[in-house]
Symmetry: C2
Subunit: 326 residues, 2 copies
């Protein structure tokens, strides 16, 4: 397969953590190409990884759309162009999320018929299968018919990414009954209920997001992003309070040492980075958006996800579902 | 003081748990009156608690507005009327949240100048002071100027309820910069930034909700309710996974037994019911909305909160702030 293009300059720990993650993926047999400045190999050990040159970086605080428009030789723009031009099979970035999305959207283009691409994030479920949440932040305002497409795309993603047959798709609202929620949710419920091609189970509530009661949770990008960050913050707080609780009392050190190995899998399962990032759905190519704080492991996982999504042709499946009669 | 009117028939464990909670509060010296059917004392031991008779119950699945309109002799309507008529100082219910709100709104009326009442919920923060989140579900669609009033009311509530001087008020959005969010958030940011009378610190994100970085988080009732229920679900999942992790291995039972007392305070601090329920802000009287699953302890705490909010005259403070020049 064509190499996965990895934005070497995106993320809080770029380029070191990114390159280290790319090397891990390459060692495991996945073809990878870095996208970064010409002098990257003199700054960090890039091993034998090929490099697509890009002289600019869209910074975390750059305006996404302006960044993509003005920095035409940026790593993000060049990575997206590599996918568009058939030089790379997918792109991965831990940089500016909005700019990653904008690069994917503007350079790869939308799949025909898709109103708006959406970010599908993986919400960890303790002891269970993650829940796919979309839109996790691409569109702060949406139309009801876009939510129907999010449901369709999310269902395909959950099937390919998590191996769930006939994923249960819920509309995030504030009550389970059909009439609950704001006017957007009421309109979307009606459209979803009439749709075919995915398994709509009705409204779900906040408490269903981190549970096994639902596989795909559909919402607008404002609500989705708030939910995602609320959970991230809460998990960080709880884990830090837990660590403090079990290690605060020196007399209990022995007990803590014995129990921590039992608790650690829980912590790992609650860390979003285990899942290798979110995917932009609806663009003409695979675009994986990793967390800004990504470690080498997270980047390695993200590259693995990119490879998998190319292998199963999730883009082709979405195109077929959105335009079934073409 | 006048007694606190407690809806004996509202909640998953009514009337037993409610009456038990009311008895606990009465024992601690708070005047309490039950609101329930005439035969309540023959069904459950109500001790020497007085009873305001009400022959109907608005059920959990009743439509809130219709329930209040049609069931004029319901416990919720009678409780709100008791406050309106100067027979009770406050009302407490663990019943249908929407109907509790509608009873308070329609029978007590709005404070003059208040566009819409909002539900202020307490979000537990591990090892810290809870965060006030409003609106937690009263208004699924809001106007930007209502959000400004929510900020004002939430600030007064945090000051009186939690003893926080000059509470930090944040607007929940999807980025810290002023321009981030949907059109509602952009408009509200401008209005909040020009307002005086509270300490607006700008946009906050989901990760700030369960943290000590902000005291009051302002949002629409749709987003607020989703956040509240997402956190409730997540905390329940994490705690159950944690309990499982530390008790799964029989050989570790001794270590688990030693450590659980250290972990339990964390669990308690994460349980919303510790805080005795949410308060409806903006009505002409104190209305406390408890969780449907409330235990006697939760009801006792809710009655304590009601008493405190009457004592400090939170309603008068809001009226003065909203109509400062009257």
């Amino acid at each position: 397969m064509l190499p996965v293009a990895v934005d070497a300059m995106g993320g809080d720990h770029a380029p070191d953590a990114i390159v280290a993650g790319a090397l891990l993926a390459a060692e495991s047999g996945i073809p990878v190409t870095l996208v970064g400045p010409a002098d990257l190999p003199s700054r960090v050990d890039t091993g034998s990884l090929p490099l697509i040159e890009a002289s600019e970086v869209i910074e975390m605080d750059d305006d996404p759309a302006q960044g993509v428009r003005r920095k035409k030789d940026s790593t993000l723009v060049r990575a997206a162009e590599a996918v568009r031009d058939g030089v790379a099979s997918a792109m991965v970035s831990a940089g500016n999320t909005g700019a990653t999305m904008a690069s994917g959207l503007l350079r790869m283009g939308r799949i025909r018929g898709v109103g708006r691409p959406a970010i599908a994030a993986m919400i960890p479920v303790p002891g269970g299968t993650p829940t796919v949440l979309l839109d996790a932040g691409a569109n702060s305002e949406v139309q009801a018919d876009w939510l129907v497409q999010f449901a369709q795309m999310g269902s395909i993603f959950a099937e390919h990414r998590l191996g769930i047959a006939n994923p249960r798709v819920g509309l995030l609202s504030i009550g389970e009954e059909a009439g609950k929620g704001d006017s957007l949710r009421k309109e979307a419920f009606g459209l979803l209920d009439e749709s075919s091609g995915f398994n709509f189970i009705g409204n779900v509530e906040g408490r269903d997001v981190m549970s096994d009661d639902c596989d795909v949770v559909v919402t607008d990008g404002f609500t989705g992003n708030v939910v995602l960050k609320t959970l991230e913050g809460a998990m960080r707080q709880v884990m830090s309070a837990l660590t403090e609780a079990v290690t605060a009392n020196a007399e209990l050190a022995e007990h803590a040492a014995a129990l921590l190995p039992e608790i650690l899998p829980l912590q790992t399962s609650l860390e979003a980075e285990t899942y290798g990032g979110a995917m932009l759905l609806g663009t003409n190519g695979v675009c994986i958006i990793s967390h800004g704080s990504s470690s080498p492991t997270a980047i390695n996982n993200a590259i693995g996800v990119a490879r998998d999504m190319v292998d199963v042709d999730v883009v082709g499946s979405i195109a077929a579902a959105i335009q079934p009669h073409d």
